[in-house]
Each structure stands twice: as C-alpha cells, then as structure tokens.
C-alpha cells in the first residue's frame, strides 16, 4: 500500500541495503537447511511498517527467534527477482489491487490457509495467493477553516461544494466515487461505467486538485489548499486527533485493503506461511488496529477491541463498498489507459 502509507526514508534504504547483503549471506548452500535467523518482508514502509513491527514482528521474534528485516515493496523488483529465480523476500505486503496483479502474473506462492478459520474472515478477504489483512477507507474529508458549515455528507455534496476538491490522480477508487457522486448506488457500482464516471469528473474538472501521493493529499487538506476532497482515513485520523483543522466522514467510502502474500521462490516458504498466519490472527490484527485506524479482516479481532477504538475503524457494511479487486485485475490496464487519456485531454 505504497501510496496510502509509505514514506521513503533513509532507514528503509538501509534496510533494503541490509537485505541485499543478507541475500548474499543466506545464499550459501550450507545455511539453506537451517532455521533462518532473519527473514525479509517487503512493505510500504512508514506508519504501516512501524505498526507491523510492534504487532506482528515482535511476537514473531518471541515465538521463533527470527528477526524480520524490511525492504520496499516495488512490484517491478518482485517481478525481476522472480524472473531471475533469485527471490529475496519471504513475505510481502501491498495494496490488494496491486497484489492481485502479482497473483495473476504468477509471481506468488499459494497460501496454506488450512489452519485459518475462514468463517471468522470478512467475505472476500481470503484468496488463493494472498490474504487481506485490513480495511482502510477512501473517504470524504474537509478543511474545517475553509468549510465551516454544512460539510459534505456524501460524494454528491462534495461535488457540489464551492471551492477546490482534492482527488487521487489514479483511476482506482476515484472512478468509483465519481459514480457515487453521479447518483449510482453503492451496490450497483460494478462493473464500473467508466464513461459515466469520466462525465461526472468532467463536471468538476476545473475544481479538482489532483494529488499523486497520500502524504500530499493529506497535506492539501491540512493546509487548506483545497476545501475538501478524498483521502484515506489513516492519513487524516491522527492529525484530526492532534487538533488539525480537518474532519472526515466514513459514509459512502470505498474500502481498500492491504494484502499479505508470499513471493514465488521465497527463501523460507514454510516459515513465511507461519508468518502470514500470525499476521491474520485476531490478536495481531486487534493490536494493529490500535496502532492504525484500519479495520481488521479477521472479525474475531473486533471482540478484542473497545468501542472507543472500533468507532473509527472502517468495516464492510451498508454505507461503504469494498473495492472490487477482481474487476480491477481484469480491467485495470484498459481503464487506466482511458483515465490517463481523459486526464490529458
């Protein structure tokens, strides 16, 4: 989930460099049989990696004695490693709509979900090659100094707002909310009527300020550069609590997920299966939700959380819609091309 959470920093770079050297070390044949002393997980970095460190990596280390080293989760690197037969990652985390593309391209191992209690998982979160771990919301937010009265309650009202609107410069989620603004019901979203969505965006084209990265989208709202806009809830949750002039609603939000998977040819597949299983336990996901305001994919985690936490967690329900990653896996290339063409027109 690079955009939703990431930040490139020196530490991550060092971790990646470290992982590279580690690859050399563990590549020695006599070490292949032994229990690894370290494993590599590719993540989006930033806040989400810190949360994993506390809620998954720490208990994992306690249980197995194995350290987790992290590195950046660029899809191109994954593809190159698998093509060369030199996979260095044991586990990866990424945006579900990207991870499903990896799965379709044959870059992932099958997951062992035999021990997983699937009845406890939200529908649509268990796949052959990856597991969804959480739900974030692409939601409506506004700057409280710019919008003092009648903040937008749904996308239609956001479209009608006087002033500038921040939107993500990618088709995923943006086309969905454009349709919602045009009056399409949540349940009728898919398959997307792309041309209708673009017409809906046409109506506000002069008001849109496109953002390319989550941090940038949040900053536009915090600085009052836009009146209101779309953003992932995790980006504005903490600033709001800290007193920044920003507020948001989860009504009509599009839920997006992080997914965990094992790259094809991972160095320690058996251990990686265990790590993925640990990441999907109720205990780990409940602890994670206390760090970041993302709803757990494992429903049992909700029973471990107080109402004060639960209220800010996006969960699949009547007033939101889970991003249809199957739709995007099948149509992403064509729709993306159409969207970019529209942007440049």
């Amino acid at each position: 989930m690079e955009h939703r959470n990431s930040q490139l920093n020196r530490r991550r770079f060092l971790a990646a460099a470290g992982a590279g050297t580690l690859g050399l070390a563990t590549g020695l044949p006599e070490m292949a049989q032994a229990q690894p002393s370290r494993m590599v997980m590719a993540t989006g970095g930033g806040a989400i990696e810190d949360a994993y460190r506390k809620t998954v990596f720490a208990p994992w280390k306690e249980k197995t004695g194995i350290d987790i080293i992290t590195t950046g989760n660029e899809g191109a690197r994954l593809k190159a490693m698998v093509e060369q037969g030199k996979t260095e990652w044991d586990v990866l985390q990424g945006a579900a709509e990207e991870v499903i593309v990896y799965a379709r391209q044959g870059l992932l191992e099958k997951l062992d979900t035999s021990k997983l209690d699937k009845t406890q998982m939200f529908p649509g979160s268990v796949h052959e090659h990856f597991l969804l771990t959480d739900f974030a919301a692409y939601c409506i937010a506004w700057n409280k100094e710019n919008v003092k009265t009648n903040p937008p309650k749904d996308w239609k009202e956001l479209w009608a707002i006087k002033g500038r609107i921040g939107l993500w410069k990618r088709p995923f989620q943006t086309l969905e909310v454009a349709l919602l603004a045009d009056g399409v019901a949540l349940k009728d979203l898919y398959p997307l009527d792309v041309e209708r969505a673009l017409k809906s965006l046409d109506k506000i084209k002069s008001k849109i300020v496109w953002w390319a990265r989550g941090a940038q989208g949040a900053q536009l709202l915090l600085d009052g550069e836009v009146e209101a806009g779309a953003i992932w809830n995790g980006r504005v949750h903490a600033p709001k609590l800290a007193g920044a002039p920003v507020d948001f609603t989860l009504n009509q939000s599009i839920l997006v997920s992080d997914a965990w998977a094992i790259p094809k040819g991972a160095p320690n597949i058996a251990k990686a299966q265990e790590l993925v299983a640990l990441g999907s336990t109720a205990a780990a996901q409940a602890a994670f939700a206390k760090q970041l305001p993302y709803g757990p994919a494992n429903k049992a985690a909700l029973t471990l959380l107080g109402d004060d936490i639960k209220v800010s967690l996006p969960q699949p329900g009547d007033n939101n819609r889970l991003l249809d990653i199957e739709y995007w896996a099948a149509n992403g290339a064509a729709v993306n091309e159409r969207f970019n063409k529209w942007l440049l027109a």
């Binding site: 191109a76 593809k79 390319a212 990265r213 009052g224 550069e225």
Partner: protein
C-alpha cells in the same frame, strides 16, 4: 618517460607504448563497467519492447495509435524545452558574473549553486509546494502588499512546475557555462575595447559566440535530464504536466506491463540520443567556426 608527448607518437615504433595506447588502456575498465551494467540492460529493455508479450510491434502500435502516450510524450518534450530555455536565461548572467569574479567570490557563488544538490529532489519539490500554496509565503506576501485580493492558485500550475524544475536543473546549466566562460581569454575583450568596440559590442560579437559551446553543452544536459523528470511535475503540476516517466513507472511498477514500459522508455531514449547527436553536430560546427576565426 620519453613518450610523454603525444605529438611524437607518429614517429615512434609500434613496439613501444605510446600515450594514446596508455589512454586506451585506461578506458577499458570504465568501458567494461558501462557495457556490462548500462549497455546490456538497455539493450534488454529495447529487446523487451519488441518481444513482450509477443515478437512484433504490438507495444509501439499501442503507443502511437491511441491512449495517452503520444500526448504525454509531447508534453514531456515541451516541458523539457521550456525548462531548458528558462534555465539558460537564468543561468547565463550568473555564470558570467561567476566566471569573471575574484576567486573568493567565485567560490562563494559556486557553493551557493552546488549546495542545493545536497537536498533530495523530493524534499525540494515539497518545499516548493509550501512556498506556492494558497496560504504559502508567496501568497501571503502578495496579499499583504495588496498586489492581489485573493490568494492565487499556483498549484497545480505551470509556474510552479517551471520554478521547481528550473531550481533543480540550474546547476547543470551554470557549471558547463562557467567552465566554458573561464576558458575565454579576457584579453580578447580588452583588445576589442582598444579597437573601439563598446562593451555591448564586445560582448555580443566576442564573448557570446565564444560562450556558445557552453550554452550548447548546458542546454543539451538540462534538456536530456528534464525528459526523465518525475516527481516535481507530479507534485506541482496538474494533468497538463503528466510526464512520460510517470506513465513508465505506472506500467513498470503497478500494471507490470514491462513490454509497454520498455517501449515508452525506448522512445524516450531515442529522443535523448537524437538530441545528443544534434548537440554533437552543432558543437562541432560552432567549434569549427570558432577555430576558423569566424
């Protein structure tokens, strides 16, 4: 070392080492590194653009017939061109002052030019966001002085993109210019003065033509680097500044369509090589002209 003077090479027996041989030998390690880690991967990319997913012109047909690609390439070229022109106009006076200043002043200006390179491009682009945004310092200055009533929306916009990119590219224009201007013999200008030229005439007819090699080198460098710009236009510009690099990243890293990404990259590479060969021709002509006293 008797063979220090390369001019004597021709008279030497082939059995003994010449300076030219030695230079050639020196070039082997960097040449090998370049071939192995640069040329081979680039040929890999070019090959992939014709072979992934199937052998043929599939990817190029997609690039040139429909979709956003041609439009984005055109935007990339015009943006890079604009940045080059703005850089040249801004850099030329700076380089002129720097080349003719006292050593200490020269070092000071040099430091001021180079120090921004230490900060990452991403951070500098975010910093420009802070400057240009609605409640940014620029707008505060404009509104408090009464020049405008309501804040100007600089972001997203061309002004912000050009300022951000020119800021990043300036050193690459200034440094070749300075190197060239320093080599211009100041006595030529003095001689022109003695012979009755006004300072403006001396500049236009002596200095400016002599500085053309620096102008060409700096412009070629800035233009070619600007073709690959990614983050600054993405942060400061709107859709009208969607550079080809953004589309390449999207295809390479997200859609994982490496065939199309390779085709786009190949087109950019061909453009860059074309610009470079124009540069080489022009600079040969300029230097040839200068050598013949034109």
């Amino acid at each position: 070392m008797a063979q220090m003077n390369p001019r004597q090479d021709g008279a030497r027996k082939s059995s003994s080492w010449s300076a030219a041989d030695f230079n050639r030998l020196l070039a082997i390690p960097p040449g090998a590194v370049l071939a192995l880690f640069f040329l081979v991967p680039i040929f890999g990319v070019i090959w992939r653009s014709f072979s992934d997913p199937a052998i043929g012109l599939l990817n190029y047909r997609r690039l040139f017939t429909d979709g956003p690609y041609l439009q984005s390439l055109w935007l990339t070229i015009t943006t890079a061109l604009m940045v080059t022109v703005l850089c040249l106009v801004t850099a030329y006076p700076v380089a002129y002052v720097m080349a003719r200043a006292r050593t200490s002043i020269q070092q000071l200006i040099g430091a001021l030019v180079v120090i921004p390179l230490w900060t990452s491009v991403v951070i500098r682009s975010y910093a420009w966001m802070v400057v240009f945004q609605r409640r940014g310092i620029l707008n505060q200055a404009l509104t408090s002085t009464g020049l405008v009533d309501t804040p100007v929306n600089f972001i997203p916009g061309s002004i912000a993109v050009y300022v951000g990119m020119v800021h990043i590219m300036l050193p690459f224009m200034i440094l070749p210019l300075v190197a060239n201007m320093r080599s211009i013999d100041g006595r030529l200008l003095a001689a022109a003065g003695v012979l009755g030229a006004t300072p403006a005439q001396a500049f236009l007819r002596i200095f400016l033509p002599l500085s053309l090699p620096g102008v060409l080198a700096g412009s070629a460098l800035v233009f070619m680097m600007s073709l690959g710009f990614y983050i600054t236009p993405a942060l400061l510009g709107g859709p009208r500044h969607m550079m080809a690099a953004v589309l390449i990243e999207e295809q390479a890293n997200r859609q994982l369509d490496w065939g199309l990404a390779s085709a786009l990259a190949t087109v950019l590479l061909v453009l860059t090589v074309a610009v470079y060969s124009v540069y080489v021709r022009l600079s040969n002509r300029v230097e040839g002209g200068l050598a013949h006293g034109r």
